[in-house]
């Protein structure tokens, strides 16, 4: 055990920090730091910088364009980029589909899709959830029926993040309706401009529209777009959902928002207020405990009470801590949480009621943060999974 990172690791951290400082467009950083809405061009601008540097896919093996970092390096990279105000990696191709293609894709599929993902030329949406199948994903009903060298896909996907930014969809479909739920599912790659697909935006309660519905009506998908074997899709989906480990606790994002709390308090001359000082200190301690746990998982010969459930526990604690920080930000807003305007969320024009007051976004950010305990497997489901591991046998 050693308290500090090694000098090499510290040097790496400095390198990432300097890169973010030099390469991130200040206008994008300002939007991220103020919790405002980002456009696709903002994400692409940053991802392109990362790609040029060879840093866009830290989770991929080197032969597919990964940088070959240690887990600690990946961890430091996540933290430094988020802390520096860089946009998150929302492109599901990078964090979700890429690893699945690398593990289970054919050489042709890898060749065709991986480079385009790295270059941000191709954006993938995740088509898992359906209106009747959220937590109980395996109950889904979208079907794919074989017809010569195509599948005919019919169904309705929902909550599809950023589908309006995307040209492609990776999708779970039922290929065997007779089999047990988990055993009749396949993993298909679908071009979003195939005839029969309609993407409809969903308006969210905080005014955003990151989510969509995707309707599939007799969509013809070539069989070579199947990942792995037919009816084995559930295995690939589980691999995908379990793959993202280091980022799951969102430590960099929490640190960034805590900095924001302090900055806002200082701007209002409230940094000395006992109530807020206490709350910040409490959350910083919570964050330290989470960070220590995230790093301990990366260490060797560790003992865990629920082996295999580490990711679930990090997800639960990490998201709930981040929600507490967003709730504190809404507290910090005081009466400035009353007015709201979409213009103020977009840094366009100036709302005379809000002006350039950053506090205008805090209520909306708090509302948005409720998603953290719903997506990526709800926190109830994560707790169920962990409890099952603890109590089985």
């Amino acid at each position: 055990m050693r308290l500090e990172f090694t000098p090499e690791e510290e040097a790496f951290r400095q390198e990432v920090r300097a890169f973010v400082e030099a390469e991130l467009d200040p206008a994008i950083r300002a939007k991220v730091e103020r919790g405002l809405r980002l456009e696709k061009v903002d994400y692409v601008a940053w991802y392109t910088r990362l790609h040029e540097k060879g840093w866009i896919t830290p989770g991929w093996p080197e032969e597919h364009g990964g940088p070959g970092w240690t887990p600690i390096q990946k961890y430091l990279f996540d933290e430094e980029t988020l802390l520096g105000g860089a946009p998150r990696i929302i492109a599901s191709g990078i964090n979700m589909l890429g690893p699945v293609l690398i593990a289970f894709g054919t050489p042709e599929q890898k060749e065709k899709y991986l480079p385009a993902i790295r270059r941000s030329e191709s954006w993938w949406a995740q088509g898992f959830s359906e209106p009747g199948s959220g937590s109980d994903l395996a109950s889904m009903r979208t079907t794919a029926v074989r017809d010569g060298d195509h599948y005919i896909v019919n169904g309705h996907k929902i909550w599809t993040s950023y589908a309006h930014f995307c040209d492609k969809l990776f999708c779970l479909v039922k290929t065997d309706r007779e089999a047990k739920p988990q055993e009749g599912i396949s993993f298909l790659l679908i071009d979003l401009d195939t005839p029969g697909i309609e993407v409809r935006p969903i308006k969210l309660y905080e005014g955003g529209n990151d989510l969509n519905e995707v309707f599939l009506d007799n969509v013809r998908v070539p069989v070579e777009n199947l990942i792995g074997e037919e009816n084995k899709g559930w295995t690939y989906a589980k691999y995908l959902l379990g793959h993202e480990r280091t980022g799951i606790a969102g430590i960099g994002a929490s640190k960034q928002q805590l900095l924001r709390v302090k900055r806002l308090l200082a701007e209002q001359g409230m940094e000395g207020e006992p109530h807020f000082r206490r709350r910040v200190a409490e959350l910083e301690i919570e964050l330290l405990a989470l960070e220590a746990t995230g790093l301990r998982i990366l260490g060797e010969n560790q003992v865990f009470s629920a082996p295999g459930a580490e990711a679930s526990m990090l997800k639960v604690r990490g998201t709930e801590l981040r929600q507490d920080i967003f709730e504190l930000l809404y507290e910090v807003a005081g009466p400035a949480a009353i007015p709201f305007s979409e213009e103020a969320m977009r840094l366009e024009g100036e709302d005379p009621l809000i002006g350039d007051d950053e506090r205008a976004s805090l209520a909306a950010n708090f509302l948005d943060s409720r998603k953290l305990s719903i997506y990526g497997g709800t926190n109830e489901v994560q707790r169920n999974v962990t409890a099952q591991m603890l109590l089985r046998g």
Partner: protein
């Protein structure tokens, strides 16, 4: 202490409930409504005797108290009513009734009871949070009256109000005035709240105020302002209870109908226990809102402030818990604009911040208990 509700109070609640169920159908709640429709509704509320509920009979009112008004406000909160009831029929009505002279009461109150006038309170200012003791809006003597300069913000129901009750200072002395919306030198900028209601920023540039527009000054004005803030807080608690009732109800219903893993969500004990916690929070809020309403009707200044502040803190905490749980238990659906849950959550979030937030009311509670010892 007696929390019993009288037969007359029950009848009033029923009448308001019928009005609300007819006027605010479930699927339209939280959606924008035309201003003409809103005027029509305001007239209907007057006919039911709601706008003049606490006004004297001489002004066309019913001479009832906060306890009766609580029932009305609870129903309006339950239906997310965007009408300026709090601003006009609670705040402005009570201020003019208690502070105004005969002429002022005649001029402003009869039209309120008749549903012909909408008013709003211009209190908050851009600098400071709820810094009512250090307002920057100022009066300078001019002729036999004053000129008024400064800026007010977060004026709930401000864009369509016909007149404002404005708080300003002259050499440190608080003054409460009535200013018509068409006064020369008054500019208003309309905006929306998080829960899609209307607020305004008001600019006063040398607005002339005649003695007939003066409601109160000095110590008398300070007391009147505190009293009306207490009343507004009790009203906000009642509104919140209405909104929370509906959120709990919708969540309970959702747990019964939404199925996952082959069973209604309500079968999962992890959710059952949390639904119970929501109900406990709701019931305590109902009690605290009643306590606050009784305090406004019966208690002396200090006790009233103490109980009302306690109610604001307690109701805000309960509302936060209920709001977060309602969203979580609805899953992704709970975060959509289409689902009612979000509209209720936003109403509660705005209500929590009107006329003092949790920090403000905790502090005022601490102050009343510290000085009482």
């Amino acid at each position: 202490m007696d929390f019993s509700i009288s037969e007359e109070q029950l009848q009033l609640r029923d009448a308001v409930k019928r009005f609300c169920d007819g006027e605010y159908p479930q699927e339209r709640r939280g959606q924008p409504v035309s201003i003409d429709r809103r005027r029509e509704r305001w007239g209907m509320m007057a006919e039911l005797g709601l706008t003049g509920l606490i006004l004297s009979e001489a002004c066309g009112g019913s001479d009832l108290g906060m306890v009766e008004q609580m029932g009305v406000l609870e129903e309006l909160g339950r239906c997310l009513s965007p009408e300026p009831y709090l601003s006009t029929a609670v705040i402005s009505a009570s201020l003019i009734q208690s502070m105004g002279n005969a002429e002022q009461r005649e001029r402003w109150l009869a039209p309120i009871a008749a549903g012909e006038l909408r008013m709003a309170l211009a209190l908050d200012e851009p600098r400071g949070r709820y810094a009512y003791a250090t307002m920057a809006c100022r009066l300078t003597p001019e002729g036999d009256g004053y000129r008024l300069d400064g800026e007010k913000c977060l004026v709930l129901d401000g864009p369509y109000a016909d007149a404002y009750v404005v708080a300003a200072r002259h050499e440190g002395s608080l003054q409460l005035l009535v200013v018509p919306a068409d006064a020369a030198g008054l500019t208003r900028t309309a905006g929306t709240t998080l829960d899609a209601r209307e607020i305004a920023t008001l600019g006063f540039a040398g607005v002339l105020v005649s003695p007939s527009q003066h409601l109160a000054e000095g110590e008398r004005a300070e007391q009147a302002l505190q009293a009306v803030l207490n009343r507004a807080s009790a009203a906000l608690c009642a509104e919140s209870v209405g909104a929370m009732t509906e959120l709990v109800e919708q969540t309970r219903e959702f747990l019964k109908v939404r199925k996952q893993f082959g069973a209604p969500l309500g079968k999962f004990q992890a959710l059952q226990h949390r639904l119970v916690d929501m109900v406990i929070a709701l019931e305590q809020s109902r009690s605290m809102a009643a306590l606050a309403a009784m305090a406004v009707d019966e208690a002396g200044d200090r006790k009233c402030l103490k109980l009302v502040s306690a109610a604001r803190v307690s109701v805000a905490r309960a509302a936060r818990l209920i709001a977060k749980e309602a969203v979580q238990m609805h899953g992704a659906m709970g975060m959509t604009d289409e689902c009612q849950v979000g509209h209720y959550v936003k109403r509660l979030m705005v209500t929590e911040r009107l006329f003092g937030d949790v920090s403000y009311h905790l502090e005022s509670f601490e102050n009343t208990t510290a000085t009482a010892a």
